[in-house]
C-alpha cells in the first residue's frame, strides 16, 4: 500500500478503478466523452485518491503547451470583458491556461524588429496550442488579424462578430446570431401586445448596422408586426442618441407612433427609457400607451440592475456557449499552414448553434471561404416590470 505522503499517480487511480492508465488519461482529460460507469469509477477513484493530472507533464507528453492565447482589446469593451471571464474558466476546466494579450501589443514593434514579420511575435512562437482573437464590437475592416497572427503554427479563430463577412481572416469564427436575436426581440414585443415596432440600431455605415436592417425587416413579417422608415434609426450607441430618437418617435400621434422599440446596447435603452419617462404626459404614459422596450444588451445583467436602471427586457450574449464554441473550433481547426490543430480539447456537443461557412472570402490573408462560423443565439432575460 502506498504511503499516505506519496503523491498519487495515474497508476494508483487505474488500479482503484480497475481500468488501464490510458482510460484514466482519456476520462480525466475529457477526451473520452462517454459518461458511463467506467468514467464515473475513474472520477470517483481520482477524487478519493486526491489525484489531479499535471497539465505541464500531460502537455510535454502530448507535445502541446496546454496554453491558449486570447487577444483582446485593452481596455476591454463590454463584449471582451464578458468573454474573457467565461473563456478563462472553461479553458481551466479543460486543463488549459490562457495567455492574455492586448490586440494593440501585437501590432507594436518588438525587440527593435518590424511588427509585420508574420508569426514573429516573441510571445507566440510555439508557446500556445491555439489562439482566439476577440473582435472589436464594431467589426468591419478594423477587425483584421494582426500580421503576427496571419502565419502561425497554431490555429487562430475570431470571436464576437455579428456578421461572418466581417470576421477577421482566421481558421474560424464564433459570433452572435443576429437574425435569431432580432426575431426573439420582436417576438417578445408582439407577445406583450406591440405591433408597430421601431429599431434603434448601430451606425448604418458599419456592416453590423446593415445586418440589423435586414434582420429586423425579416423578423417582422412572420409575427404580423410592422415598421416605418422613420422608425428605423441608425447612429451612435449611446444614451444621448437613444433619448433623441425615442423622443422624436413618441412625439408623433396615433399610428405614427411605435408601440414597441428594439434598442441596441444598454446605453441606447437607458436614453430611450428616459425619453419615455420625461417626455410623455401622465395621461399618455399609461401602461397601455407607453411603448415597450427590448434591449439587445451588451452588459452583464447585474451591472444594469446595480445601477438601478429598472426592469429588464433584455437579450444578452451567451458568453458560456460562445466560449465553449470557441474552444471546440480551436480543437477542430487547422493551422494556417494546413496541419491539424495541436490543441487536444474534448469535443463538446453543440445545440441550436447556426453553423456555416464564411459567405465571402475576406482580404488580407489566405482564402478563408471554408472557415467555419458558429453563430450563437443571445440569451433572453425577461423580468417583470416593477
Amino acid at each position: 500500500m502506498p504511503s499516505p505522503a506519496r503523491r498519487r499517480s495515474i497508476v494508483d487511480v487505474a488500479v482503484a478503478a480497475g481500468v488501464s492508465t490510458a482510460t484514466v488519461s482519456r476520462v480525466l482529460s475529457g477526451r473520452r466523452s462517454k459518461d458511463d460507469d467506467i468514467a464515473r469509477r475513474v472520477r470517483r477513484a481520482a477524487e478519493v485518491l486526491h489525484y489531479t493530472a499535471n497539465p505541464a507533464a500531460s502537455a510535454l507528453r502530448a507535445e502541446t503547451t496546454a496554453m491558449l492565447g486570447l487577444v483582446i482589446p485593452d481596455p476591454p469593451d463590454s463584449f471582451a470583458a464578458g468573454f474573457v471571464a467565461r473563456f478563462v474558466s472553461l479553458a481551466a476546466a479543460q486543463a488549459h491556461q490562457v495567455l492574455l494579450l492586448s490586440a494593440e501589443g501585437l501590432t507594436r514593434p518588438h525587440h527593435g524588429g518590424p511588427s509585420t514579420d508574420p508569426g514573429a511575435h516573441p510571445v507566440f512562437g510555439q508557446a500556445v496550442d491555439g489562439c482566439v482573437m476577440v473582435a472589436v464590437e464594431t467589426g468591419g475592416a478594423d477587425a483584421r488579424l494582426p500580421p503576427a497572427l496571419r502565419s502561425t503554427s497554431f490555429p487562430v479563430i475570431s470571436a464576437g462578430v455579428t456578421d461572418p463577412a466581417s470576421a477577421p481572416v482566421a481558421a474560424g469564427s464564433v459570433g452572435i446570431d443576429l437574425d435569431s436575436t432580432l426575431q426573439l426581440a420582436v417576438a417578445r414585443l408582439v407577445e406583450r401586445g406591440s405591433r408597430r415596432i421601431a429599431l434603434l440600431a448601430p451606425d448604418v455605415e458599419s456592416l453590423r448596422g446593415a445586418s440589423y436592417f435586414v434582420g429586423f425587416e425579416t423578423a417582422l413579417a412572420p409575427v404580423h408586426a410592422i415598421t416605418r422608415a422613420e422608425w428605423m434609426s441608425f447612429g451612435p450607441t449611446d444614451a444621448e442618441r437613444g433619448y433623441a430618437d425615442a423622443a422624436r418617435m413618441i412625439a408623433e400621434d396615433g399610428d405614427r407612433r411605435p408601440d414597441g422599440i428594439v434598442c441596441v446596447t444598454d446605453a441606447v435603452a437607458d436614453g430611450a427609457r428616459l425619453a419615455l419617462e420625461t417626455t410623455m404626459t401622465a395621461t399618455e404614459a399609461t401602461a397601455r400607451n407607453r411603448p415597450r422596450l427590448v434591449t439587445i444588451a451588451d452588459r452583464h445583467a447585474r451591472d444594469v440592475d446595480g445601477n438601478g436602471a429598472g426592469p429588464s427586457e433584455r437579450l444578452r450574449p451567451d458568453f458560456t456557449r460562445m466560449a465553449t464554441a470557441a474552444l471546440r473550433l480551436l480543437s477542430e481547426s487547422k493551422t494556417p499552414d494546413g496541419s491539424p490543430s495541436r490543441s487536444l480539447l474534448p469535443s463538446i456537443e453543440g445545440e441550436e448553434e447556426r453553423r456555416g461557412r464564411l459567405r465571402e472570402p475576406t482580404t488580407g490573408g489566405s482564402d478563408t471561404s471554408d472557415a467555419p462560423t458558429i453563430a450563437v443565439p443571445m440569451l433572453p432575460e425577461w423580468t417583470p416590470p416593477i
Binding site: 483582446i72 485593452d74 481596455p75 476591454p76 469593451d77 463590454s78 471582451a80 470583458a81 464578458g82 474573457v84 471571464a85 478563462v88 474558466s89 490562457v98 492574455l100 494579450l101 492586448s102 501589443g105 452583464h300 447585474r302 451591472d303 446595480g306 445601477n307
Partner: protein, 89 residues
Amino acid sequence: MSTATRTVVITDPVGIHARPAAEFAQAAGSSGCSVTISKQPGAAGVNAASILSVMGLGVKGGDTVEIVVTGDDAENAADSLIHTLTKGE
C-alpha cells in the same frame, strides 16, 4: 474636475482573477474618468482600464487595493467602481 480615493480589501480568496479584472477594467474604461489602481495605498497606480495592467498587479485574496479616480463626478464613479470590484466576492 475632482479626485476621489478609495481603498478596499479583496476578500475573494483567489484575488483579482480574470473575471473581476475584466469587469473592473471595462467599468473603469467606460466611467469617463481617469482611474488608477495600486496594490499598496499610496503607491503609484497602474491604468485601471487595462485588464492586462490590473491582472499584472497580481492582487491576491486579503490584499488591500487603492483606486484613485480623477474626473467629473469622481466620487460617484469611485463608489461604482468599488462596487464592481467587490460584488462578485
